[in-house]
Symmetry: C2
Subunit: 505 residues, 2 copies
């Protein structure tokens, strides 16, 4: 149970199959194996020993996958930096786990002085961009060119594979320690769970950031199945549509906001998306209107939602396509996060740690091979999170009779107005159906009279206009009166978190 | 990564779905979880501690699956007895790993005195048959009825899950120690590898013996996916056909001989087999004629071959349906054992342990999470088998450019006649096409002049007759002259090994 196994297997079974496509650069599996063995050797020559952390601060590229494999090849531990963070936050995450080697692309070169100043543990910087390598940095391609392929240092199972930093609700980021077992099992269960999807022959698109566990689960699924990875530096609806058409992409991971932006971009209709048969999304729930728009432009696509958290490597539940349409949707399953993956044992527990009766609210607790080893250097936080062998997610929710898990967190921005509960997602569903609305988020705003009032933030479509009154008229036929927005705020864009979720605070 | 997880998950997600069907007895997942917790508690009350071995000597039944789960529930280790062995061999396997508790069904009660005499470690016998419980034995259903559900003792990962005895080529049987990780990973990869097969909604038939790892891989795949198990006490072509029709069975595991017997039984045509969409076979290669006959009676079935060994828990490679028909078959893939499973890293190595150039013969070596911990109490044999982290299978073979593995062992009974190599399977393919031939096996018989001569053993169809001359005439148009049988032996049946392989010695 070691993460290089998939590369070895692919290089033996289909050496000339494309492993990665990045712009005009194409690398087959035999070549990638050779490059990984060289880069792994280079890391060892640079003093990286088994268990040492190696960071990467970069937009998506084919080298991102090579980085994962090469670090594992050297017996070391990946530490992918959150590209949405400030230099201070990134430096904290590097220093916290004593990362000495950092790979950085062109985009993030300007951040280096600040990082070096604050993360004094850094001794070696490898430039993995396509521009010229600045003085004082090592060249990624230079290392691959000059180094001999090294023997692999096989680590696996419970050995630490990566330290992935998460924001944490309070205070400093926490380093989630994931062993080989966790990432391996997550990749395998994704392939096994997606019964109706052919991962082996997939051409899978990475446009969500690859540092994030949402895309990383997809990465590991594609890797386990020996599929082809297509990387875009970052999400851009036009480039996504172009790339799907050009490379005949068959599978993709997006966050719901990206699904919406893809569905709404005027350029999308100019491209043939018929190859895309599988769309995995995660990171946040999806509005019904977005599902409808996605299915309008891609009627053949099969949707799947993943719910989980970094600490689970990350999958806990999956919601299959059947729950997005027809009977499943009519039965309300689209409001759920789906059912436990094949590797996850999921329970809803009370404050005493015992399972609550089915249908009652409690905390979502998960057990299984996806679980982290703990938080880096934070034994107390680890003990709080993992109790009695169960990862306590901190998410509230309930489970129905069929094992579907409903996360209250996805309705955590529930608005209480005049004593009535209003779920933002329900209002968002209604607002999003207005023809002038490109994107929207609904929040509660404190109000002396009503406690909270429903407040809609809307990004209008280019050239379109909408007033509060029009929006209210539109919503009146869709939702109850007390749910209708009392205020409208027009924005140029919605603020997004590092993982592409809408930041409602 | 613990084997009870699948039961927990199923009981939460679909408590009223049938877990097992055995004759007229139907047990849903909620009930099974309750029974397993009681039986696990009973085992603990009987003094079974974590890591202790518990054996079962029984034909297939629904209780076989409960036994697996209950032993794991108690933190203990399964030790399923080979029902084809003599009392002496079984007693050896029980005594070797100091098994103190044995479950036995009605069929094997007569063997008890001999077992108790030779396996003096036995202290407790539980009667798990449907007949009356003899004096001095505990009643399985009595224990389930009187015991309270116990808390689970969670063991997993590298913890020992089972000791499975294999014949071994020389001397005494060896106890293969498989950890939870191995059986779990094998179940999961079977579901993931069978991309085109829906394991979740499968109604899977066990008619090959459940002690054997071939059926056990199927058991674990069905369990991981939360499917329904149908058990037949033993293989019988008429009962298999009846059961497929009655229970709308959608998947089954058979050994090739059983496939042939099912295809050839006159009663088969009287039953509707249209529900059966998936037929996994393993344990030995299959003759092309048998594939053809199977597809004639079940044109909709998708075939899959598994190759492996107990020491791998057991899967190493899988041959998909595409290789059984059309282009794949024309390309010769049906002569292979398929490609490495998603969890297996497979290499062909030379005597020095290094990989040989692609296409060259060597020993099949496998690495991955399926691998055993070692042989029980046989450190030397373990060191010989697992070298440098690789399980050396002892099977000769080669790998083609697409990663398909060809086992020479399946052509190990290669006959050298007059300096020419004749592969038995090729001759068997030809002989099997003769209308009077029900079953056949081709062996080499020592000969002063030719070294060996080709010798055909044939079981004729009921009422049919065939002479050597007729058979030679028939083969002449199919295979080269030197491959044609020089002798014919008519038999009532072919001798089978415990796993249902034809014993050619």
């Amino acid at each position: 149970m070691y993460l290089t196994q998939s590369l070895q297997r692919s290089a033996r079974c289909h050496p000339r199959k494309l492993a990665t496509i990045f712009g005009s650069r194409r690398t087959d599996y035999a070549t990638m194996l050779d490059r990984v063995a060289r880069l792994g050797g280079a890391l060892r020559s640079l003093g990286v020993g088994p268990g040492d952390r190696v960071a990467l601060l970069s937009l998506n590229s084919d080298r991102y996958l090579e980085y994962f494999y090469a670090v594992y090849w050297a017996g070391a531990v990946v530490n992918p930096a959150n590209i949405r963070w400030s230099a201070g936050e990134i430096a904290y995450s590097l220093a916290d786990c004593d990362t000495r080697v950092l790979l950085v692309d062109d985009q993030f070169l300007p951040m280096l002085p600040a990082l070096r100043g604050q993360a004094t543990c850094l001794t070696t910087i490898i430039h993995c961009g396509d521009g010229e390598t600045p003085d004082g940095l090592l060249s990624y391609e230079g290392l691959v060119r000059t180094e001999e392929p090294a023997d692999e240092i096989v680590r696996g199972g419970e050995d630490l594979a990566g330290v992935f930093y998460t924001g944490g609700t309070t205070g400093f980021p926490k380093g989630v320690m994931l062993p080989h077992r966790s990432l391996y099992a997550n990749g395998l269960t994704l392939v096994a769970d997606a019964t109706d999807i052919d991962f082996r022959n997939m051409i899978g698109l990475h446009s969500a950031p690859m540092f994030h566990l949402a895309d990383h689960a997809f990465t590991n699924g594609l890797a386990m199945a020996g599929a082809t990875h297509v990387m875009l530096p970052m999400f851009n609806p036009q480039q996504v549509a172009e790339t799907i058409e050009r490379e005949r992409v068959t599978g993709a991971l997006l966050v719901p906001t990206m699904v919406q932006m893809l569905a709404d971009a005027p350029t999308t209709a100019q491209h043939d998306l018929s190859s895309l048969g599988f769309l995995l999304y995660g990171g946040s729930p999806i509005a019904e209107a977005v599902v409808d728009r996605a299915l309008r432009i891609m009627p053949h696509v099969r949707l799947m939602q993943g719910y989980g958290m970094t600490e689970l490597g990350p999958l806990a539940t999956l919601l299959p396509h059947e729950s997005h349409v027809g009977e499943g949707r009519a039965g309300g399953k689209l409001r759920s996060a789906g059912r436990p993956t094949l590797i996850a044992d999921v329970r809803i527990v009370g404050l005493d740690g015992n399972e609550v009766p089915r249908g009652e609210h409690g905390e979502v607790a998960v057990r299984g091979p996806g679980m982290m080893l703990g938080y880096w250097n934070k034994p107390e936080e680890t003990t709080t999170a993992i109790r009695g062998g169960w990862m306590h997610t901190g998410d509230g929710g309930y489970m129905d009779d069929e094992g579907f898990v409903y996360i209250a967190d996805r309705i955590k921005d529930m608005i209480v107005t005049g004593g009535e509960n209003v779920y933002s997602v329900e209002v968002e569903n209604a607002v999003a159906k207005h023809p002038a609305v490109l994107q929207c988020a609904v929040i509660g705003v404190p109000d002396d009279k009503w406690g909270e009032v429903v407040h809609a933030c809307v990004v209008p479509r280019p050239g379109a206009q909408v007033t509060l009154e029009e929006l209210q008229q539109h919503c009146k036929v869709l939702i109850a009166n007390y749910k209708i927005p009392r205020a409208l705020e027009l924005l140029d864009e919605l603020p997004l978190s590092g993982a592409g979720k809408i930041l409602k605070n």
